[in-house]
C-alpha cells in the first residue's frame, strides 16, 4: 500500500459532514434521490448512511455482551445455530382431528422437528361444533376439537414423549392443555417429560386478535392457576407464548409490536407475582412469539431489541435471579398479512426474506407461511415448499454458520437502539396508565394499532408503499392455484361425533365433574385439577366454558375506535 501524503490524512479524519460537503452535495444537485424521505414499512425514518458517528459512546460490552450472556442481544444460546438449528415448526390444523393427524405425520416425515396445532374458530372461542355460532366455521381455519376423543385422534400414533407440541389456543387454553395431558397419560408418558408450548396469551386477544371468552381478571386467574400447575407438574412446558404476531397482523408498527408484547409480558409476570408465585420459579417458562414482516433490518433489530429489553425487565424490574428468567426465547412466524392473493408465487420470495430476517434476528423456532395462505389453509404441496424454504436457509445459505452476523453494523445497531428507546417510551406510558390491563380497558393499544393500520393502508392505496403485484407490476387475472377446500361434510361429521360422545359418556360422572369445576371456580383453589377431571369425564370444550361463563362473566369489547 502506498504511503499517503496529506490527502490520506484528510481521508482518515473525514467525517460524514465532510463527505456530504465534498462528495454528496454535488451529486444530489445533479440527481436527487428516488424519494424525498425513506422509511421502513412501519413508517420509521431511514437515513441515507449510518457511520461510526451514529454509534458514538456506544459500548459493545453493555449493548451486546456475548451469546448466551446478558443482555442477550446476540442470542440466548452460547452456540446458537452452530449447536442446534432453530426448530422448524409449521402451524397446521384443518378439518377433523383425523385430517390434521395425517398432516402432522406428513410434516414429521418430511423433516419437521416440532408440531404446532391450529384450532378452528369455535374451539378458539370455547364453543362446541354444534353451537349455533359455530355454523359454517367448523374445521375451516383449524382443527375442530370438542372432546377428549378428538384430542386422542389428533395425536394418534404420535409419541408425545418424543415430540414438542405447540398449541395455538388462548381463552380455553387450560381446557386444551388438560386434554393433551389426558392423552399423554393414556399413552403412558409421564407429565414431567412433556415438552411444548401453549399460546395462552389472553392480553393480546383483547388488544388484537379478539378471540376472548372471559374478562381480564378471571382470565388472568385461569392463567396463573395453569402456570402454578405446570410449574409443579409439567415443568418443561412453556406456559405462555407472549405474542406480538397478532398485534402486528392487526396492523401495528414494528415498535408497537415490540412494546405491547413486552408490556403484556410484564402484565403476566406481575399477575403471577400477585398470585403468590415465586418469580424465578415460573418466568423461565414464559416464551415469546413475534412476527417477521417485510422490512428486513427492522425485523432483525426488533428481535435483538426485544431480548435486551426483556433481560432488563426481568433483572431490574422484577429482580429475577435465575438467568433462565432473563432470556427471551421466541418463536417467529412470517407475516401472513404481507402475503398477496395476486401473483401468489411472489409470496415464496417474501417468505424467504422474512424467514431470513427471523434467523438473523436469532429466533428459536420458525413457521414459514405457505404461498396460498392468503386464500386458504395450505395444501400439502405448498406446506412442503414452505418447510423446504427453511431447510434451504438452514443448510445451504450459510447464514447459520456464525452467530449474530450483523452485530456492529452501524445501521442495525442504530436501529436496534432506536426501536428499544421508542418501545420503552410506550411501556412508560402504559405504566403511567396503571399497567397493560388498564391500558387495554382504555383502548390505548387498540387505538394506536388502528391508527397505524389505517395509515399504512392509505400509503398502499396512494402508492407510497409498494406492494408488488397489487399496486405495482400488476397483471390482469389472478393466477389460479390449487386450494385446500374444507367441505360441509366436516361440520356434519364433527357434530355427529360430538353427539355420539354425549350419548355414550357416563352422564352422572360428567355432571359431577362440571359441578366440581363450578365449585372450584367459585373458590380460590387451582382450577386445573377440576378441568382435568371434566375433560376425562368427556365434557366438551363448550360445556366446560359454559360452566364457567356464569361465574366468570363474559368479555364485551367497549366502543371500538375506528
Amino acid at each position: 500500500m502506498k504511503k499517503g501524503g496529506g490527502k490520506a490524512a484528510t481521508v482518515r479524519r473525514a467525517t460524514r459532514r465532510d463527505w456530504e460537503e465534498r462528495t454528496l452535495k454535488e451529486v444530489l444537485a445533479r440527481r436527487p434521490e428516488r424519494l424525498p424521505a425513506f422509511t421502513t414499512v412501519s413508517g420509521a425514518p431511514v437515513e441515507r448512511l449510518y457511520t461510526f458517528e451514529d454509534l458514538e459512546g456506544w459500548d459493545p460490552v453493555e449493548k451486546l455482551g456475548f451469546p448466551g450472556d446478558p443482555p442477550y442481544t446476540r442470542g440466548v444460546h452460547p452456540t446458537m445455530y452452530r449447536g442446534r438449528l432453530w426448530t422448524m415448526r409449521q402451524f397446521a390444523g384443518f378439518g377433523s382431528a383425523e385430517d390434521t393427524n395425517r398432516r402432522f405425520r406428513y410434516l414429521l416425515e418430511h423433516g419437521q422437528t416440532g408440531l404446532s396445532t391450529a384450532f378452528d374458530l369455535p374451539t378458539l372461542m370455547g364453543r362446541d361444533s354444534d353451537d349455533p355460532m359455530a355454523e359454517g366455521e367448523v374445521g375451516r381455519e383449524g382443527v375442530a376439537i370438542d372432546t377428549l376423543a378428538d384430542m386422542e385422534a389428533l395425536f394418534r400414533d404420535i409419541p408425545l414423549g418424543r415430540v414438542s407440541t405447540s398449541m395455538t389456543i388462548n381463552a380455553p387454553a387450560a381446557v386444551l392443555l388438560a386434554m393433551y395431558l389426558a392423552v399423554a397419560e393414556r399413552q403412558g408418558v409421564p407429565l414431567e417429560s412433556l415438552e411444548g408450548t401453549l399460546q395462552n396469551d389472553i392480553l393480546k386477544e383483547y388488544i388484537a386478535q379478539k378471540e376472548w371468552i372471559f374478562p381480564p381478571a378471571p382470565s388472568l386467574r385461569i392463567i396463573t392457576d395453569l402456570i402454578a400447575f405446570c410449574t409443579a407438574r409439567v415443568p418443561k412446558w412453556n406456559t405462555i407464548s407472549i405474542s406480538g404476531y397478532h398485534i402486528r397482523e392487526a396492523g401495528s408498527t414494528a415498535v408497537q409490536e415490540l412494546a405491547f408484547t413486552l408490556a403484556d409480558g410484564i402484565g403476566y409476570v406481575q399477575a403471577g407475582i400477585d398470585a403468590g408465585l415465586e418469580v424465578d420459579a415460573f418466568t423461565p417458562r414464559l416464551s415469546f412469539f413475534f412476527n417477521a414482516h417485510n422490512d428486513f433490518f427492522e425485523e432483525i433489530a426488533k428481535l435483538r431489541a426485544a431480548r435486551r429489553m426483556w433481560a432488563a425487565i426481568m433483572r431490574e424490574r422484577f429482580g429475577a435471579a435465575d438467568p433462565r428468567a432473563w432470556r427471551l426465547r421466541t418463536h417467529v412466524q412470517t407475516a401472513g398479512c404481507s402475503l398477496t392473493a395476486q401473483q401468489p408465487h411472489n409470496n415464496v420470495v417474501r417468505v424467504t426474506l422474512q424467514a431470513l430476517a427471523a434467523v438473523l434476528g436469532g429466533t428459536q423456532s420458525l413457521h414459514t407461511n405457505a404461498l396460498d395462505e392468503t386464500l386458504a389453509l395450505p395444501t400439502e404441496d405448498s406446506a412442503r415448499l414452505a418447510l423446504r424454504t427453511q431447510q434451504i436457509l438452514a443448510e445451504e445459505s450459510g447464514v447459520a454458520n456464525t452467530i449474530d452476523p450483523l452485530a456492529g453494523s452501524y445501521f442495525v445497531e442504530s436501529l436496534t437502539d432506536r426501536m428499544e428507546e421508542e418501545a420503552w417510551d410506550y411501556i412508560r406510558r402504559i405504566d403511567a396508565m396503571g399497567g397493560i390491563v388498564k391500558a387495554i380497558e382504555q383502548g390505548f393499544p387498540q387505538r394506536e394499532i388502528a391508527e397505524a393500520s389505517y395509515r399504512y393502508q392509505r400509503q398502499v392505496d396512494e402508492g407510497e408503499k409498494t406492494v408488488v403485484g397489487v399496486n405495482r407490476y400488476t397483471e390482469g387475472d389472478a393466477a389460479k392455484i390449487p386450494l385446500l377446500r374444507i367441505g360441509p361434510e366436516v361440520e356434519r361429521a364433527q357434530v355427529e361425533g360430538l353427539g355420539r360422545v354425549r350419548a355414550t359418556r357416563d352422564a352422572a360422572r360428567h355432571a359431577r365433574a362440571l359441578r366440581d369445576l363450578q365449585a372450584t371456580a367459585r373458590s380460590r383453589d387451582n382450577l386445573m385439577p377440576a378441568i382435568l377431571g371434566a375433560v376425562k369425564a368427556h365434557a366438551s370444550v363448550g360445556e366446560i366454558c359454559d360452566a364457567l361463563r356464569p361465574i366468570f362473566g363474559v368479555y364485551r369489547e367497549g366502543t371500538v375506535p375506528l
Binding site: 374458530l121 359454517g136 386478535q209 396492523g251 398479512c337 398477496t340 392473493a341 388502528a450 369489547e557
Partner: protein, 138 residues
Amino acid sequence: MKAGEGKVRLLVGKVGLDGHDRGAKIIARALRDAGFEVIYTGLHQTPEMVVATALQEDVDGIGLSILSGAHNTIFPKITRLLREQGGADIVVFGGGIVPDEDVPGLLQAGVRAIFTPGTTTRQVIDWVMAEVKPRRRG
C-alpha cells in the same frame, strides 16, 4: 355524495366468531371519511343481529367482512333474512378471504359485490357511491 336526507347510511359488520377486524375497521373509517354515515357493529354478530340492526338503523347498505371461511354460510343467510324481513332493497356487499370460485354463488344469493384481498379503499368507496342509493323511506 348527496347532502342532507339523501345521505347514504351504511352498516359495516363482522359476523361469526372471526375476530380479524383490521379490514372491517379500515373500510368503516374510509367510508366515513368519504362522507357516508357509517355504523360499525363490532365483533361476533349473528346474521340475525346484523339484519335487526340494519333494519332498526334504516341503513341503505351492509358491508360485511369475513375472513374465517364461513362466507358461504353467512352471506346467504343474511340476504335471506333481509328478504324475509322487508329489507330486500338493502345492498349487501362483502370482503375478505373468499376464493374466486365461491363468488358466483354468493352473487346468486343476492350479494351485490365481493371485494377480495388487494382491493383499495378507493375502489370500495367508488363502488358504494355508484351502487348504494338512499332507500325509499316511509
